[in-house]
């Protein structure tokens, strides 16, 4: 195995162009496990740790540009307001040591349905900035996950950053594992309220071949909130709406039975998490509305 250590982004792109099978490594959360388990013996490892730009983030007026290697710990510490869903998801990634090394780029590169960041990214919405020697392009997160552990990237491309809208409303993230910390998701759910557009977005992890949105649930909820004037009134969402939302979220799952959990349980749990995260985000929205009107 050859170890490539480009000093700059341009060198990294050139190396990836020359060796399209080279596996990029930053924190190593996924790659090192695969190597340890002997699941993968890439001919080249492409170490991105010398490229400082990847570990930086910029908070703009409307969006956050988050470098692919910004460690989860820093997301938790610095972007809780701008990216609350992703910050919550970051909390559930592995252990403190791994959160100090791992970043969103790794989750996106592996594109495992169990990646903790995905439901939060889907719920937030945003774009993945990828680049190759041929040029740069932005892949909408909704079009990024294309199959089991497959994403929409070309072989010569590298992930540079993700561009995420700053939260315009409450976001939540919830993940079921059979341990109270340091556990791979049995299933996960992300929910973001977008009051500015009067929409909601969701993300489901580990309950389908790819991370998915529960679009029917989103559409139903957005319509229900809109028709009932809930955004304006800040009234409590009726249990019947929450229940229907939960059922539709369950219905968006296409899970399997495996050692981590049964398909039936995953569907069930996603529904529960959908209902609960709706309760938390809506309560939070109502609270903000109230404090805004008091001011």
């Amino acid at each position: 195995m050859d170890f490539l250590r480009p000093a700059s982004w341009e060198e990294a792109l050139a190396a990836k162009a020359e060796h399209p099978t080279a596996v990029p490594i930053a924190g190593g959360t996924d790659v090192m496990v695969e190597i340890n388990f002997d699941h993968r013996r890439p001919a080249y490892l492409l170490d991105l740790n010398r490229i400082g730009d990847l570990s930086e983030w910029e908070v703009g007026e409307k969006t956050v540009r988050l470098g692919a290697s910004v460690p989860y710990t820093l997301i938790m510490e610095n972007l809780r307001t701008e990216l609350p869903g992703l910050a919550l998801a970051s909390h559930t990634v592995a252990s403190p040591q791994i959160r100090n090394r791992g970043g969103v780029g790794g989750n996106l590169g592996t594109a495992s349905p169990a990646g903790d960041a995905h439901p939060a990214l889907l719920a937030s919405g945003g774009e993945v900035e990828v680049e190759s020697v041929r040029g740069r392009r932005m892949i909408p997160i909704d079009a990024f996950y294309v199959g089991v552990k497959r994403n929409a990237m070309e072989q010569d491309e590298l992930i540079r950053s993700v561009h995420l809208p700053k939260a315009d409303g409450p976001q939540q993230f919830s993940k079921v594992g059979t341990r109270n910390a340091m556990v791979i998701a049995v299933c996960a759910f992300g929910l973001a309220l977008h009051p500015e557009t009067r929409t909601v977005r969701t993300g489901i992890g580990s309950a389908a071949p790819t991370p998915v949105r529960a679009r029917a649930a989103e559409d139903f909820l957005a319509a229900a909130l809109d028709e009932g004037g809930f955004w304006e009134s800040g009234k409590t969402v009726p249990p019947s709406v929450a229940k229907q939302f939960a059922q539709l979220a369950s219905g968006a799952c296409n899970p399997i039975d495996d050692v981590r959990g049964s398909a039936k349980y995953r569907r069930h749990a996603v529904g529960i998490m959908a209902r609960r995260t709706l309760g938390w985000t809506w309560e939070s929205y109502r609270g903000q509305e109230r404090s805004a009107s008091c001011a």
Binding site: V176, R179, N180, A181, G261, S262, A269, I272, R276, W280
Partner: protein, 794 residues
């Protein structure tokens, strides 16, 4: 010696009074938490090769051929060995039954069985070369449970059994069967007002020690080999290794290297013989280190079990009878299965008085992974079932579960189902009283911090699954009984060598035993005992090796009793010698030398009245006292093969738990909030270590209650989760507050009155957690671990 890193120097200073009963600190504690301790996997030798084991990828198959030519031709490879290369006629090993091939012969019987070994100059080279070995397997049908193992025409896991259990088992796929019959359970059942039965399933637990199997074999000029290894019993290893190598035992010199946990998983051999074979073949030192994946195949696991129980009781809450059948799955090789059967059957009733019992326990041979020793050893599975039953009976009778247990609790003088009287304190009712009396943790602790729910105090923890929704609290109780020491007539002894001499004008003691320090704290306790018995401050604990007699196994909660007892025993003999020397030198100076009870204290010979007669330095000037003696507990008997009667056990250990859980009833997630323990330890030689053992055992029991299980595919007998990604053990966020109430009621037969303590807390922890979850949910829950699916009906 080219070994640059050997076990840590364990010289321990000690303040005066750092004898027994003091909480002296572990000499290796700081090194371990700072990452400086040299574990067996850290060893290094110039010119050493790396060994790698090629394991079967299938559970049951005939080996038609093995082609090693391509592997051998790989640059950097020094040796590739298969069954055909074994040097002597001894090609199997085993703790009790020598049924385990050093390398597979003709067929493989379980997933992950060693087939070939490779030595190369780099671990990656060895691994790649092994991947080039071509094995032609012809798949055979697998047996994976009692029904398939004993079905007509079932494939036999071992075709030609000639072991000492073969003659009395009902089927060749049953390793051992132990009935225990006392009184007349059928007759007694007629007196019962209620009869409660249940079927219970205990999953396969892994020891999950953190330091994987590893060691270094160094060939010696005399044709022998020096083996540095992490193990639980050096001399048991030696007895199994030497014949396979064709060497006399004195040419296989073993030294314990840093052990990263054991819990029973190092009782059986792993890489020992393989490393020695490769070292002797290549003439070079060979190191083998398993990775985590291989470790799951490199050691035996806790027997999964199916248990059927029937209890009867009268309306006033007295047990009338018990019938039970316990089926343990021993997997492909016997390992410790016979002894596990003995424990499961003889302790199947639990710490209760029941005069009329009909018990049967068996262990199967199957194509599942081999199972053997693990902390609690047969008593764990039984305790899970009988404690679930005790709750069920109490409920049926409308009695409080703790009071019902107390009504039936055994005590000193109780006759065990084996006919053996309990000859030392058995404070079962008192332990239950104590845990029940402890204050309960406050309700809804997640609200304590302020406005926001503290998710760490909730089921799901950091995964943020609930802020209190669906959460119900439950409380459950359990108590257990574990035997201490090796039972059933085994000649269980330990050896200690103690030397006392003057160094730099100070009297010092050196303690040398072959005891495997696996984390239990023997190295601390031995120094404490030497200080107490010999009145010295400086004690050196020599590295454990085979230059001294056997210390027996670090298992069965026996080491403080047995090797601690041996150290005490030898120290007493050394003290007598020292006093004899003193009398010879100074006896004429003071009449007390002849008339008083003399003690060694603070470096001096003193009378029991406290008068100083001499400095030990002066007594010992000019010569050392050096003795090596064996120590035995009282002998035990085998259990009768038909009735199970016999004085089979040495001592018992009792612990009781109260579990408090919060269950998210909608998501089926559990947070154990508190696990309170009360345990009788006889005498706490090192109270800090005692609490540590109890908390550790409790946590291991919690693990199996809510998450730990090796999942084996019932169709293929292949292991599905051999990793810490999918075999989950508790993190600190899963570990509750564990208040410990230590009771010290002396067992007069034991050194200092102590009781072995390491296993008992593992027993009752699991059923207490299960009881608490049942209490919270109202569900039956007859299986470990409890999974979210069980709690949500999904």
């Amino acid at each position: 010696m080219g070994v640059t890193r050997t076990p840590t120097d364990l010289t321990q200073g000690g303040r005066t009074g750092a004898g027994i009963g003091a909480s002296t600190l572990r000499p290796d504690g700081t090194l371990k938490v700072t990452g400086e301790f040299a574990y067996s996997s850290d060893m290094w030798h110039e010119d050493m090769l790396w060994g790698f084991t090629l394991r079967s990828t299938t559970a049951h198959a005939e080996i038609r051929s093995i082609d090693t030519s391509e592997a051998l031709a790989t640059s950097g490879v020094y040796a590739v060995l298969t069954y055909d290369d074994l040097p002597t006629d001894v090609k199997n090993y085993g703790l009790e039954i020598q049924d385990t091939p050093v390398l597979a012969h003709g067929k493989v019987r379980h997933h992950g069985e060693p087939v070939a070994i490779v030595a190369a100059d780099h671990p990656e080279t060895a691994r790649r070369a092994a991947a080039k070995i071509k094995i032609d397997y012809a798949e055979l049908p697998v047996v994976t449970d009692e029904a398939s193992a004993t079905a007509e025409g079932a494939p036999l896991v071992h075709e030609m059994r000639d072991d000492h259990h073969a003659g009395h088992v009902p089927h060749p796929n049953i390793v051992h069967r132990q009935p225990i019959v006392r009184g007349n359970a059928d007759e007694a059942a007629k007196r019962a007002d209620v009869i409660v039965s249940g079927e219970y399933v205990f999953g396969m637990q892994d020891q999950a020690f953190l330091g994987p199997e590893s060691g270094l074999a160094v060939p010696a000029d005399d044709g022998g080999v020096d083996l540095y290894v992490a193990t639980q019993w050096l001399h048991s290893d030696l007895r199994q290794i030497a014949p396979v190598l064709g060497l006399p035992e004195d040419k296989v010199r073993m030294t314990l290297s840093g052990v990263g946990g054991a819990f029973g998983g190092r009782e059986d051999l792993s890489m020992q013989i393989h490393a020695c074979l490769l070292a002797l073949r290549t003439g070079k030192p060979v190191k083998i280190v398993y990775n985590r994946f291989e470790s799951f195949f490199g050691h035996v696991h806790r027997h999964p079990a199916k248990l059927w129980y029937e209890h009867g009781a009268t309306r006033d809450g007295k047990l009338t009878h018990l019938k039970c059948r316990i089926v343990l799955d021993g997997g492909a090789y016997a390992s410790a299965s016979p002894a596990v059967v003995g424990n499961a059957s003889s302790l199947a009733v639990g710490p209760y008085v029941v005069d009329d019992v009909d018990i049967e326990a068996i262990a199967l041979y199957s194509n599942n992974p081999p199972c053997g020793a693990m902390r609690g050893f047969g008593a764990v599975q039984a305790c899970f079932a009988y404690e679930a039953q005790m709750d069920k009976v109490a409920k049926e009778l409308g009695l409080d579960p703790v009071e019902f247990r107390q009504l039936n609790a055994m005590e000193e003088g109780t006759i065990m189902p084996t006919g053996q009287p309990v000859e030392s304190p058995a404070p079962v009712a008192e332990l239950l009283r104590r845990i029940k009396a402890m204050p309960l943790p406050p309700e809804q602790q997640w609200l304590a911090a302020g406005e926001r729910a503290d998710v760490r105090a909730l089921p799901g923890g950091l995964s943020n699954t609930t802020h209190g929704e669906g959460v119900v609290r439950g409380v459950g109780y359990a108590v257990g009984i574990k035997n201490v020491g090796f039972s059933e007539g085994f000649d269980d002894y330990s050896t200690a060598r103690v030397r006392m001499e003057v160094v730099g004008g100070e009297p010092v003691a050196t303690v040398h035993t072959a005891m495997a320090e696996v984390g239990q704290g023997g190295v601390t306790v031995h120094a404490q005992i030497a200080r107490t018995e010999l009145g010295v401050q400086q004690v050196t604990i020599q590295p454990a090796d085979t230059r001294v007699g056997s210390a027996g196994s670090t298992s069965a909660s026996r080491q403080t009793y047995m090797t601690g007892g041996a150290v005490k025993n030898t120290c007493e003999a050394v003290r007598e010698k020292v006093l004899e020397i003193g009398r010879g030198k100074f006896g004429t100076y003071h009449p007390a030398w002849a008339t008083a009870e003399l003690l060694l204290e603070n470096g001096k010979v003193v009378t029991d009245g406290g008068e100083v007669l001499a400095d030990l330095a002066d007594v010992l000037e000019g010569g050392a006292v050096d003795l090596e003696l064996e120590f035995r507990h009282k002998p035990t008997e085998a259990f009768d093969l038909r009735t199970g009667q016999g004085n089979g056990h040495v001592q018992y250990s009792f612990a009781a738990h109260r579990a408090v859980v919060e269950v998210d009833t909608e998501l089926g997630l559990v947070k154990v909030v508190e696990l309170a323990v009360a345990q009788d330890v006889g005498k706490a030689l090192n109270p800090l270590s005692v609490v540590g053992q109890i908390q550790g055992g409790t946590t291991q029991g919690l693990g199996v209650a809510v998450m730990e299980e090796i999942i084996v595919d019932p169709k293929t007998a292949k292991v599905r989760n051999p990793s810490f990604t999918d075999y989950l053990i508790p993190t600190i966020l899963d570990t509750p507050t564990i208040p410990v109430d230590v009771l010290e009621l002396a067992d007069e037969a034991a050194p200092y009155g102590l009781r072995g303590i390491g296993e008992a807390p593992t027993l009752s922890s699991t059923p207490a957690v299960l009881a608490a979850i049942r209490n919270a949910t109202g569900l039956e829950l007859n299986k470990t671990p409890v999974r979210p699916e069980h709690l949500t009906g999904t």
